[in-house]
């Protein structure tokens, strides 16, 4: 590239000396315009961060970070802001979703890359992508209509529960985990697999002893990005989680997550209450950023992963 860059002005100058100056300038202008546009994502992120923190930090400062995070009393109209139940709720739901999403997502990814005939790949892969496209409100709706009554009738409790949310979120994060893992698994050099088979290993031994090990970092990144998606999901969770303010004792208890706390009360909130919801957003934001940074660090292969990491 760099050699290229040096050559152009010379070339065009040689061919059309009269226009050379103007061309050069317009190129520079274009370059600047593109640069400014390229800053949009970065500046968008900066503005979002600034606004969320600006609205949220004062109330955290007022209540005290420790009280805000470790108190389990949330009576916003009486000035008590403690989001411990929501933090625990988000973590429990995400952990449950991760187990489900990982088992299914990774299973599908291994199948797609190692065992599946191409014809089936061309059915399963778009189907999994379609799963990612279904609106979260539809997932939530199906959760309420089918899953919740099932849990209430056969497992007990109110139905709206950690379990129900974990299952719904697990299905929702499956496509994220699958597509990123597929990329990681595909990137494992053929020679590893051939070498392993040549040593007399079965395909499955090759898969779990060689391929999975080699693709480990990509898979970890996939799971972490999936977790990010689960922590951040809102509409589906509001519908199936039950949104209580108590710390859950079992997976059949209802919970409230950080996201649903925001979405439930945002429409109504004013004053300190609204600021406290933004502060909830700050906590959520920090959790997501930590997860993202870990995922980015872990995956050495940068470019592929990110496309699918929506």
């Amino acid at each position: 590239m760099s050699t290229m860059r040096a050559q152009i002005p010379v070339q065009s100058a040689a061919r059309r000396p009269l226009l050379a100056r103007r061309r050069l300038d317009s190129e520079r202008v274009i370059s600047w315009v593109l640069f400014l546009m390229a800053l949009s994502a970065l500046s968008g992120l900066a503005v979002i961060t600034a606004f969320i923190f600006k609205e949220g930090i004062p109330i955290i400062a007022k209540v005290g970070l420790r009280r805000f995070i470790f108190s389990s009393h949330w009576y916003p109209l009486e000035g008590e802001f403690g989001i411990l139940p929501m933090i625990v709720g988000s973590l429990m739901v995400t952990a449950g979703a991760m187990v489900i999403g990982m088992v299914f997502g990774l299973g599908c990814a291994i199948l797609l890359t190692q065992y599946c005939p191409p014809r089936m790949v061309s059915i399963i892969k778009p189907a999994i992508e379609l799963l990612a496209g279904i609106p979260s409100v539809v997932y939530g709706f199906i959760g309420v209509a089918i899953l919740v009554p099932f849990i209430r009738d056969y497992l007990g409790g109110p139905g709206l529960s950690v379990l129900a949310s974990s299952i719904v979120l697990g299905v929702m994060m499956l496509p994220t985990i699958t597509s990123i893992s597929v990329d990681a698994l595909r990137a494992v050099p053929k020679s590893y697999i051939e070498g392993s088979i040549a040593l007399g290993a079965t395909e499955w031994q090759t898969t779990h002893m060689v391929v999975l090990k080699a693709a480990r970092s990509g898979i970890v990144a996939a799971v972490i990005l999936g977790m990010g998606r689960a922590v951040g999901e809102t509409m589906a969770v509001i519908m199936v989680a039950g949104n209580t303010l108590e710390l859950p004792h079992s997976i059949l208890d209802p919970v409230r997550t950080l996201t649903s706390n925001i979405a439930l009360e945002m429409g109504y909130a004013a004053g300190d209450h609204r600021k406290a919801l933004f502060a909830t957003g700050v906590v959520l934001f920090v959790i997501i950023m930590v997860l993202n940074t870990i995922a980015l660090r872990v995956s050495r292969r940068r470019s592929k992963v990110k496309v699918l990491a929506k």
């Binding site: 590239m1 860059r5 152009i8 070339q11 065009s12 061919r15 061309r23 593109l34 390229a38 949009s40 994502a41 970065l42 500046s43 968008g44 992120l45 900066a46 503005v47 979002i48 606004f51 969320i52 088992v103 299914f104 299973g107 599908c108 199948l111 065992y115 061309s122 399963i124 778009p126 189907a127 999994i128 496209g133 279904i134 609106p135 979260s136 409100v137 539809v138 199906i142 290993a201 079965t202 499955w204 031994q205 898969t207 990010g228 922590v231 809102t234 509409m235 925001i262 979405a263 945002m266 957003g281 934001f285 997501i288 993202n292 980015l296 470019s303 990110k306 496309v307 990491a309 929506k310």
Partner: protein, 277 residues
């Protein structure tokens, strides 16, 4: 006791097939469930009429228009910026601190949950900039959400354009900009289009952010500065408020069909022009 490797192999493979089958089953179930309940109520009138008594009767025409507006505006705003970013990253600069920072920005933006975008859109576009609950506030918020997707897919597509094309373009005396617009972008177009189509899909299904920024007015938006309810939000409100389950299912069917059509066209674009499906 050791189980023979050949048996473990068989067990493992069948477990994975089962997992995949369950995943497919869930997808098939969701789609059939919605369409089964919704398709019988779907009619031309439903698509072209305005809702009556809060959506208990009548159709979803204003929501279709609202959804299209939010989606189209979002993509029209995000696509040029996203493609420009991708061009800058691939053609106009060297890998360095700046590109790393820009990529980091896009990656982080991609990970931010929609409710945070909603909160931001609400304070920034709706209140600070005084746009109110409106189509334009919603569209700008959604544009920010889909920007990373467009940047990433465009970058991949542009990188996939063979070096030789660029060399030839330079060899013929074109400037960098001519090379980019006439050669690189043109050959990367299907890939870019795929990213755009996927973004359209994402904008259509977005609910949380749109709820906080575009509002939920039932009427046909007279301008983009008025509030409008999108299809997914309409479905949410119909089903949650229990206003009309039949209309809720029919609305969900419209959504599901739109999403399927969009995914299919993205898939078709990929297959036909990019050759990696």
């Amino acid at each position: 006791m050791r189980i023979a490797p050949s048996i473990t192999q068989r067990i493992a493979v069948s477990i994975m097939w089962t997992l995949a089958a369950v995943a497919m089953g869930v997808l098939a179930f969701i789609i059939t469930y919605i369409l089964w309940h919704g398709l019988p109520h779907l009619s031309w009138a439903f698509l072209t009429e305005s809702p009556k008594s809060m959506g208990r009767e009548g159709g979803v025409f204003p929501m279709i228009v609202g959804t299209l507006w939010v989606t189209m505006l979002a993509v029209v705003i995000a696509a040029p910026v996203g493609v420009a970013t991708a061009i800058y990253l691939t053609e106009y600069t060297h890998e360095g601190k700046m590109t790393a920072a820009i990529r980091f920005g896009a990656d982080c933006l991609a990970g931010i949950p929609s409710i945070i975008f909603g909160l931001f859109g609400f304070v920034f576009f709706v209140i600070t900039l005084g746009m109110g609950l409106s189509v334009i506030s919603g569209a700008l918020t959604v544009a920010l959400m889909v920007l990373p997707t467009i940047i990433r897919t465009s970058e991949e597509a542009i990188r996939a354009v063979p070096r030789a094309y660029r060399d030839v373009a330079y060899g013929l005396g074109s400037t960098r900009w001519q090379m980019v617009t006439r050669v690189v972008v043109r050959s990367a177009l299907p890939g870019i289009a795929t990213g755009v189509v996927l973004s359209v899909g994402r904008s259509i299904s977005e609910t949380a952010a749109v709820m906080l920024t575009a509002g939920s007015a039932l009427g046909l938006p007279q301008s983009i500065f008025q509030s409008s309810r999108t299809l997914s939000l309409h479905f949410y409100i119909l089903s949650r408020e229990g206003i009309s389950m039949t209309n809720a299912y029919a609305t969900a069917s419209v959504l599901i069909i739109a999403i399927m059509a969009i995914n299919l066209s993205a898939y078709w674009l990929m297959r036909r022009f990019v050759g990696k499906a």
